[in-house]
Symmetry: C2
Subunit: 211 residues, 2 copies
């Protein structure tokens, strides 16, 4: 099986959302040129992406069946299985993620949160209980959580990463703006708002300075 690049993997949820919208609008098929026009990817890229997850070819002049595409991509992304996660850091961002309604349909089930602030312990956020951080080593293995979502400040993120890895987490979704050092056999994916803002600001300034 060919490896998927990060950029390619990032496109599948965008396709999925788009195909679901088309289904809701009553459409049954979609063609690569139409996808290209709406999503801004090249036709060649779209064909490659869809062929990589589905053997079923499109029908000339009609395109690909939308229901089958949705099913195929959902299966590929693991949306039809459930993966268990815990979240560490129940501040503003942590609470937003705990209350985010769309993770369930992505197969992600956040079952518990942890925080070092005693004032948060025992509270429920979006139906999930916040436990004191001291309970993590004991609870994480019992919850069988493979994924840890880290939403603590940068200064404590490495310590939290070490703790969740010791307790058995194999994947870290890191929202703290630092580079985490992890052993082999653990995957890290970063959501770095500062990095995203840097791209936006630079492109904006570039554009404004040309005017």
């Amino acid at each position: 099986m060919k490896a998927f690049s990060k950029n390619q993997l990032q496109r599948y949820p965008v396709y999925l959302k788009f195909f679901k919208t088309l289904l809701e609008e009553g459409k049954t098929c979609v063609s690569s040129p139409y996808i290209a026009k709406c999503l801004g990817y090249s036709e060649e890229q779209i064909r490659k992406d869809l062929q990589a997850v589905s053997k079923e070819p499109g029908v000339p002049k009609k395109g690909r069946d939308l229901e089958r595409l949705v099913e195929t991509i959902e299966k590929f992304l693991g949306y039809r299985d459930s993966t268990t996660a815990v979240l560490v850091g129940a501040g503003h961002l942590g609470q937003a993620l705990l209350s985010y309604p769309n993770f369930a349909e992505m197969g992600l089930s956040i079952v518990a949160a942890f925080d070092s602030n005693p004032a948060l312990s025992g509270r429920k956020v979006g139906d999930k209980e916040v436990f004191p951080i001291e309970k993590l080593p004991n609870l994480l293995p019992r919850l069988n959580a493979h994924i840890a979502i880290i939403t603590v400040p940068a200064a404590s993120a490495q310590e939290v990463a070490d703790a969740v890895i010791s307790a058995g987490a194999r994947a870290i979704w890191n929202f703290a703006p630092i580079h985490l050092i992890v052993p082999e056999g653990v995957v890290v994916e970063n959501v770095n708002l500062a990095s995203s803002l840097a791209v936006l600001s630079h492109r904006l300034n570039e554009m404004l300075s040309k005017e």
Copy 2:
């Protein structure tokens, strides 16, 4: 001036955070091999990145001066100027961003929020007032906001994008999981949690299936 790639731009906030941590630890200089070891980038990449924003060379055996590096990168990223933004969609994620304490040091000032939910109008979140969405066309130009942060559900994101662009926004920081269609002269940067999760899940499953 050479254009900066997206990946390169995304690295500068990571460098900056790291250099600031080293300064707090009392260090005064940093070498490329040490940065490489801690951040996982290649030495060559680090040298290129730093040379692209600073003409000052490192001192052999000591490295580069940390205070100058912080100053240079902050200036490059526009952290020492202030850019005005508004936020549309004051739900959970919007509220988290409104309360996020780190934007100020990045030079981003969110001055107001808008929401279509009348129950939210007039409320203050993180010191910022939430206005009814109807006031956006009138208020956005008066606030002189170049950036609009979109945290509404996917179904209304395009409509909101059209509205903020009509009102004069030149840059959209889009947190809704859809591809926005915008005219030339407007920049869009997406933060797509579903895409990030897709990368994490795929890498995790790949790793687990090998064991």
